[in-house]
């Protein structure tokens, strides 16, 4: 099957998924309300508390990129839950009996989830601006930061796609990914400066790709650690967060794109 066909089939599937964003009430909440809530909650509850203890005005700004990173990673779980739901409802059986490109369902799915994350980032960025977050670099640099966030989430989408086809129901996908993604996004520099973490957790956090993508977004938007006495990062990952993020995404994609495609060919309902 030609690449052009695969692409156009993928767009048809992506369009179908995007139609759902406006029609499924859960999705509307997930894509627009919860990002706004996260920004407000973290900015005023955490940001406020830490500011008062002398964290400085910059702490709220420092937090925002962490919230971006966590939210797009959670956004990637939609891929797994969506696929599991399509399998359960027999939609995948229908797709698999059509003469369409076999990779189009996964390609379309992950593509629409990127689109979903773009909406999430725009909503969060605007909310961030309202609560005082600013881009202190150039537009181009900030854009690059956002692209890295999207690339990172795209890679996670492919992991979630694989998980979504293995487990029996969308609920299980959500619970299982919660168990993994929560620690992954919290044991990182997302919400607290790394130097506040105890020894082994700190090492984990230094190499955690979520830390790297957060760091990259912070650097590229010009929102550094507000504590002037904070030590320089010691891990290579955080010294080169952009490269580490890209490498990490590339490795994940190289592994999980073929793995997910192979699983797709095997999956049927029930």
């Amino acid at each position: 099957m030609s690449t052009a066909t695969a692409l156009s089939d993928g767009f048809v599937v992506a369009k179908r998924n995007l139609i759902k964003i406006k029609r499924v009430p859960d999705m509307i909440v997930f894509t627009t309300m919860s990002p706004i809530m996260f920004i407000l909650l973290f900015a005023y509850v955490f940001g406020g508390a830490i500011d008062q203890q002398g964290g400085g005005e910059g702490y709220r700004e420092f937090l925002i990129a962490g919230i971006f990173a966590q939210t797009v990673v959670f956004g990637a779980t939609v891929t797994g839950a969506g696929l599991a739901d399509d399998i359960k409802k027999g939609i995948i059986d229908r797709f698999r009996s059509l003469p369409m490109s076999p990779s189009a369902v996964l390609f379309g799915r992950t593509l629409s989830d990127v689109a979903n994350n773009v909406i999430v980032l725009v909503v969060m960025g605007l909310t961030g601006l309202l609560v005082g977050w600013r881009i202190r670099t150039s537009f181009e640099e900030a854009l690059l930061g956002f692209l890295l966030l999207l690339l990172f989430a795209y890679a996670i989408s492919w992991v979630m796609a694989w998980v979504g086809m293995l487990v029996p129901s969308p609920e299980v996908v959500n619970n299982a990914s919660f168990m993994v993604i929560f620690p992954l996004t919290f044991v990182a520099n997302t919400f607290v400066p790394l130097e506040t973490l105890p020894g082994p957790l700190q090492t984990f956090a230094e190499w955690n790709p979520v830390s790297a993508v957060t760091q990259a977004a912070r650097d590229l938007c010009g929102n550094p650690n507000p504590n002037p006495a904070a030590p320089e990062p010691t891990s290579w990952a955080l010294q080169n967060p952009e490269i580490y993020t890209i490498l990490w995404a590339a490795v994940v994609l190289l592994i999980f794109v073929p793995l997910s495609n192979a699983q797709y060919r095997r999956s049927t309902s029930r």
């Binding site: 066909t5 089939d9 048809v12 369009k15 179908r16 409802k89 009996s97 059509l98 369409m100 049927t268």
Partner: protein, 335 residues
């Protein structure tokens, strides 16, 4: 090499075997759908109908055996098979959050009909299936029968030469069922080859040129509806005796009237006699029982059902077959 068969058979399956862990869903199934004809696959729950359809529509790989659809091998060239088939699965696979139109349009696009043709085809089919008024509503708001029709319309988007319908009328009310039958008859008249699974003898009788009866993943009988009915014995005389101790005697008295063996359902004190000849046989039976002084609680004459086919062919009813199977599974779990 039987080249002529490849050309004239829309579907041919030989010795299909499929296991799910310990469960043997198919146990060497053979099927043939000559071009332009309708094969009715009749069987109780768990007989393997859906498994067979899934293999023929490239969703599952068989453990053994081979199958061709429109002359193309389902395992070697599944992509080729998919260009020739339309499928409507046992459970309507419509996207609830899309409208009826969007569902069909999407399928057309994925058959690569192009944008204009897909939209035009979607409108045509919505009209044909009396969904045009609901066509711009989300499928979520459709009734079960409407979803079924939309799903069937989805199978027809590309006018495929070979069609697979897995229990297309299960769960429909009598009116929707009759309508569905009319639609299917229309398709067949237009030359589509069709493999249809069903649990209703009546349906197979009405729609199919040939019928295979399957149980436990194997064909246990095949032929035209008339041939099968002849095997089953046109009608069933059902007699319930008052006194359970006299069943054996009643059987002896009734056997000469039957065209097949009398089946006794001990716990219901009833006897089933396959007969031909209608009401006169009924009168004769009552006279004979009366002559022996055997009292009768209830008596009736009815047309054969799937259960009767099963009773005659396997000696057990469809429900018993299902029961036996779930017992098997329980044993497996226990092991």
């Amino acid at each position: 090499m039987t080249v002529s068969r490849l050309v004239t058979d829309a579907v041919i399956a030989e010795g299909l075997v499929k296991h799910y862990k310990e469960v043997k869903a198919l146990d060497g199934l053979d099927l043939r759908v000559p071009q332009g004809s309708v094969l009715g696959v009749l069987g109780p729950n768990g007989a393997g109908k859906t498994t067979a359809v899934r293999i023929l529509t490239t969703l599952l790989k068989p453990d053994a055996g081979r199958a061709q659809v429109a002359g193309i091998d389902v395992v070697e060239d599944p992509a080729g098979v998919r260009t020739k088939i339309g499928v409507s699965g046992q459970y309507a696979a419509v996207d609830e959050y899309l409208t009826g139109f969007e569902n069909l349009d999407m399928i057309g696009r994925l058959y690569h009909l192009g944008r204009k043709r897909s939209q035009q085809r979607a409108r045509e089919l919505l009209e044909q299936f009396r969904l045009d008024e609901a066509g711009d509503r989300m499928a979520k708001t459709y009734s079960g029968g409407m979803r079924r029709r939309l799903d069937l319309a989805g199978a027809l988007v590309a006018d495929p030469p070979v069609l697979f319908l897995d229990e297309p009328t299960t769960g429909l009310d009598p009116r929707s069922r009759t309508e569905m039958w009319d639609v299917i008859k229309g398709l067949v008249a237009a030359g589509t080859s069709l493999l249809l699974t069903t649990q209703y003898l009546e349906e197979a009788d009405l729609l199919a040129d040939n019928i295979v009866v399957i149980d436990h993943g194997l064909v246990i009988a095949e032929g035209t509806a008339d041939q099968l009915k002849a095997q089953v014995g046109g009608e069933r005389l059902e007699i319930t005796v008052s006194d359970a101790t006299r069943i054996a005697q009643a059987r002896k008295v009734l056997q000469p009237l039957g065209v097949g063996p009398v089946v006794v359902e001990e716990h219901q004190r009833s006897l089933l006699v396959p007969v031909t000849g209608g009401a006169s046989v009924l009168a004769d039976a009552l006279r004979r029982l009366d002559g022996e002084g055997i009292e009768v609680d209830d008596v009736g004459l009815r047309r054969p059902t799937l259960d009767d086919v099963f009773l005659t062919l396997t000696g057990h009813t469809a429900e018993e077959s299902e029961q036996a199977e779930s017992d098997d599974q329980l044993e497996e779990v226990a092991r």
